[in-house]
């Protein structure tokens, strides 16, 4: 390929990287728009559910009210109510809902494009297409869904059970970017600038001088600013529109009520806080509450009665996007580095390297997806508050709080102690495995050896869960002559019982390794020792055991490491119990419990990282030890 061709490829790569960056930014913004649409639809559904009365008990004497254009912001006077409401009815009074739905569209300052469906029929705009019949069914299952560019949220009956309709909010198309001229001008301009910078960089053969990296990063930062402002806008719009809804609700909540209480309104905004407040601006503003960024708006719900509506400021948690965008932007420089390498490298080598990477790619991809990505995610989890129980829709960054909490938790230390105690079975099983291997090698030949070896190995290859269940029966009181103690439910014996079981299960595997190790010791050493006058005992301790040392260390090291990772036996047999003492709580089970029991994924991530560090220290120590000993073997 000519130089011109390489330069063109470099420019293309840079332009593609820039386009990807801008595309990701746009996608992020539309995500915020969608999030806003769903949130707004949910709030609107809650508002309608709260303010729409049930139908009157007798056939409703319909007051002649033609399509009423409800002028909002009516003074405190109670809105029109069907006289005797049927108490306990789960249905809505449809005419009233029709009115309310249409009123939504004319609320001053209301920015959302909203539609309310009763059944599948649109209420506000009668000519709009109805929902499909299965839409309601799917809403009943999923709560909300995205359909034809509109966020649909289920509208449930007054009892909160059946789905009787839906609220739809259409997000606005993504607004123009932060650059002058909007996307239409900024996008081509940005691409041309970036591409030009890349071409210069390529010709000058230095990414540093060309300023291309700077251009690419600048683009990423600009895109990030755009995303951040979109996040801020979505929070602000929700606050603005919800403020209007709250004011409406304050006047429309069905009687009997003399004064609207805060409690009546909090149901409308479950994912935000509603507090008594001071008079303030109606425009959203930012305050720090307990060190956390909150978006706040003041709501006037009656004469002199102010509320403060607080919610999480979404833009404070957009940092992740910055990294994603920077990564996207750096695709360009990486591609140019690759092209530069390809230009310099002879064709044959280039070909071989490409093929080599081709072969590496599947394994590398597997490693990235199934090893690297989970590790990175665990690290991400560990520094965020991430729990399903949390009220907040976002997962705030909490630094090392999770780690501190894990270290403060007495259960962590109990688990660590139990794990360490449990791993003490390993030296015992290693000694036993060595003894069995030596005995088998000394006394067994032919099929007898094969049979015994298989018998010892069998527990090791059996399904761990099946083994666990069998031993559960064995340990139950009275069975197999193990006495009347229920081994697993007594705090003093439960851990011991697990250790015994593990001993039984692991001796075989370790024995096979020892047998292989014994086989590798040349017979000549033992013959020489016999002639030199060594007894069988001396031969073992002076010759066999020292020569087996690397094998022994290997078995011991891998045994202890896997003992530290014990989970299945604990999970199947005791679940960390007996409970008050947590007698068999071990580290991996603790991680599991934190994640799936307490639903605290952030804490579980922190705990598993701590556990990882512990294992790393153990492994490195043992590898060092092994490395020293393997030399002369």
């Amino acid at each position: 390929m000519s130089w011109r061709g390489w330069a063109a490829a470099a420019t293309t790569a840079a332009v593609v990287a820039a386009a990807v960056t801008l595309g990701v930014a746009r996608w992020a913004e539309s995500r915020y728009e969608r999030a806003f649409a769903f949130r707004m639809a949910a709030t609107t559904a809650a508002y309608l559910a709260a303010v729409t009365p049930p139908p009157p008990a007798p056939p409703p004497p319909r007051r002649a009210r033609p399509t009423r254009r409800a002028r909002p912001a009516r003074p405190a006077g109670p809105p029109q109510q069907p006289p005797p409401p049927a108490r306990g009815s789960a249905e809505y009074y449809l005419p009233q809902m029709l009115t309310l739905a249409r009123a939504l569209r004319t609320l001053p300052g209301w920015t959302s494009e909203v539609e309310v469906y009763y059944g599948t029929a649109p209420l506000a705009d009668a000519t709009a297409p109805p929902l499909a019949p299965d839409d309601l069914e799917r809403l009943a299952r999923e709560g909300g869904r995205w359909r034809n560019g509109v966020a649909l949220v289920a509208l449930r009956d007054r009892g909160g059970r059946e789905v009787v309709g839906a609220v739809a909010v259409r997000p606005r198309s993504v607004p123009r970017g932060p650059l002058p001229g909007g996307m239409g001008f900024a996008l081509p301009a940005a691409l041309v600038a970036v591409g030009g910078a890349a071409a210069i960089a390529f010709r000058q053969r230095s990414l540093r001088r060309g300023g291309y990296v700077a251009a690419a990063l600048l683009l990423a930062v600009a895109a990030y600013a755009d995303v951040r402002s979109a996040a801020r806008r979505s929070t602000d719009r929700w606050l603005t529109d919800t403020r209007r809804l709250l004011q409406e609700a304050a006047t429309r909540l069905p009687p009997p009520r003399s004064r609207v209480a805060i409690e009546d309104l909090t149901g409308l905004v479950r994912d935000a806080e509603l507090l008594p407040g001071e008079p303030g601006e109606s425009a959203p503003r930012r305050v720090d509450v307990d060190g956390k960024r909150r978006a706040v708006v003041s709501v006037l719900i009656g004469p002199g009665r102010w509320l403060e509506l607080r919610t999480v400021a979404a833009e404070a948690y957009t940092t992740g996007w910055l990294f994603v965008l920077l990564a996207c932007a750096l695709l360009g420089p990486v591609a140019i580095l690759g092209l530069r390498w390809a230009e310099r490298t002879p064709r044959r080598q280039r070909r071989e390297t490409t093929i080599a990477w081709g072969f590496l790619a599947p394994a590398g991809l597997h490693l990235a997806v199934f090893s690297l990505a989970p590790v990175l995610f665990a690290i991400y989890l560990s520094v965020h508050r991430w729990g399903r129980g949390s009220v907040e829709p976002v997962r705030p960054f909490v630094g090392l709080t999770n780690f501190a909490a894990a270290l403060r938790d007495p259960l962590t230390w109990i688990a660590l102690r139990n794990t360490a105690l449990y791993s003490l079975y390993v030296p015992v099983s290693v000694a036993l495995a060595l003894a069995v291997a030596v005995a088998l090698r000394a006394w067994c030949r032919g099929w007898g050896l094969g049979l015994l070896r298989t018998a010892f190995l069998l527990p090791y290859v059996l399904s761990v869960v099946a083994v666990g269940l069998v031993w559960q029966r064995i340990y139950q009181s009275g069975s197999l002559g193990l006495g009347t103690t229920d081994w697993l439910s007594s705090p003093t014996t439960a851990l011991l019982a697990l250790m015994l079981l593990s001993l039984w299960a692991h001796v075989g595997g370790q024995m096979v390794v020892f047998l292989a190790g014994l086989q590798r010791i040349p017979q000549a050493y033992l013959d020489a020792a016999r002639i030199d006058g060594a007894s069988a005992w001396q031969r073992f301790w002076r010759i066999t055991f020292p020569l087996l040392r690397p094998v022994t260390l290997f078995v011991l090291a891998t045994g202890i490491i896997s003992a530290f990772q014990v989970f299945t036996y604990v999970y199947v047999l005791t679940r960390g119990g007996p409970l008050p003492d947590h007698s068999t709580e071990v580290l991996v089970h603790r991680v599991y419990q934190t994640a799936w029991g307490s639903q605290e994924f952030g804490a579980a991530g922190a705990l598993s990282l701590l556990f990882f560090l512990l294992l790393l220290v153990l492994t490195v120590t043992q590898v060092r030890l092994l490395g020293k000993q393997v030399e002369h073997a």
Partner: protein
């Protein structure tokens, strides 16, 4: 020091193969006897039976006057040097040499003294604290020797101790071994498949073939008067030429043996019929065509400097001639063959010597 006596030793392995057949041997006190045989001939099995590592199926092993057939190796007081030295890899050379003494509960001070003596005798003083893998091949074999001689055993057993060394080192250590034997005056049984080694170091050589002892004698006896065809073929480099032939009388009243394209006159009046004619390569000469006992084709010429080996095809029978210096013989040409008539060996069809 003691003699080693084997009486009717037989060994059948678990898989049914018989390694030794009724083997009897008397190794005199202070003698260096070499057991020579091709691989698989049972040499090592003999050693292992003497050492006690294997138990014979039948027969007895005596060390001195003591029957030790079923005595464990530790109580036989013999030392063995293995083919691959078998030095304990995790112990220093000092600990390796001291090992047999430690196992016998010798006092520490005495151990130190004897290890030092042995090391000095073998020139290992500088490497005592190294591990076996830090030594050269020669040093390793010396250390193995040291481990054997340090406790002054009744007899030494050597199981091809030099076969894993390169040729130069082998010759060097061979001389050392002989010197050691002289100075210790020890009974030694030395197993090898290398007949040069056997000829150079053995006071007597026992030729072993397929578990049977074919001949025991001094190197000269074994070379000059082989007990049968097998010994004749095996001893010597290259071994004796053994040709299949027929004896008959000629019109001139002479007796000749016809082997392939050769007709060798012999002074053997009584025998007619199938027999085998042996002649060592150095007693075969080349001459002009039709001037010798017959003609042969030259197959291969191997010039070795001091001598040249010429491989011949005499009417389908292979024959090697060893001739001094370099020769101008072309491969593929036809030459006449001479033999030294005084140095012919005659064997019957079964391989036993005639007359």
């Amino acid at each position: 020091m003691a003699s080693v006596t084997l009486r009717g030793l037989s060994k059948v392995f678990d898989d049914g193969s018989q390694a030794l057949h009724q083997l009897s041997l008397d190794v005199r006190d202070g003698e260096l006897l070499v057991l020579l045989g091709p691989s698989g001939s049972g040499k090592t099995t003999v050693l292992r039976c003497i050492a006690g590592l294997d138990e014979p199926t039948a027969g007895d092993v005596l060390i001195g006057e003591r029957v030790v057939t079923h005595t464990p190796p530790a109580e036989r007081d013999v030392a063995m040097v293995f083919q691959n030295h078998a030095l304990y890899p995790h112990l220093s050379i000092r600990d390796n040499i001291a090992f047999p003494l430690e196992m016998r509960g010798v006092a520490d001070a005495q151990i130190a003294r004897r290890v030092a003596e042995t090391a000095a005798r073998l020139g290992l003083g500088d490497v005592l604290d190294r591990r076996p893998d830090q030594l050269s091949a020669g040093q390793r074999q010396r250390a193995a020797l040291g481990r054997a001689i340090v406790r002054g055993p009744q007899a030494f057993l050597f199981d091809e101790p030099l076969s894993s060394l390169d040729a130069k080192l082998r010759i060097e250590l061979r001389a050392e071994l002989l010197a050691l034997h002289r100075s210790l005056g020890a009974t030694m049984i030395y197993v090898t498949h290398d007949q040069t080694e056997a000829m150079t170091i053995g006071q007597r050589i026992g030729v072993l073939h397929e578990g049977r002892l074919r001949q025991v004698g001094t190197p000269a006896e074994v070379y000059e008067h082989p007990a049968d065809v097998i010994v004749a073929r095996f001893v010597g480099t290259p071994g004796m030429n053994v040709l299949q032939g027929r004896g008959r009388g000629t019109a001139e009243g002479e007796r000749v043996i016809e082997v392939g394209s050769l007709a060798v006159p012999v002074e053997l009046s009584t025998y007619e019929g199938e027999l085998q004619l042996g002649v060592r390569p150095e007693h075969v000469g080349l001459c002009a065509v039709d001037k010798g006992v017959g003609n042969a084709d030259v197959l291969i010429v191997e010039p070795l400097g001091s001598e040249t080996l010429v491989h011949l095809n005499a009417g389908g029978q292979g024959l090697v001639a060893r001739l001094p210096g370099f020769l101008d013989v072309r491969v593929g040409t036809r030459v006449g063959v001479k033999v030294d008539r005084r140095r012919l060996y005659l064997f019957d069809a079964a391989g036993a010597p005639l007359a």
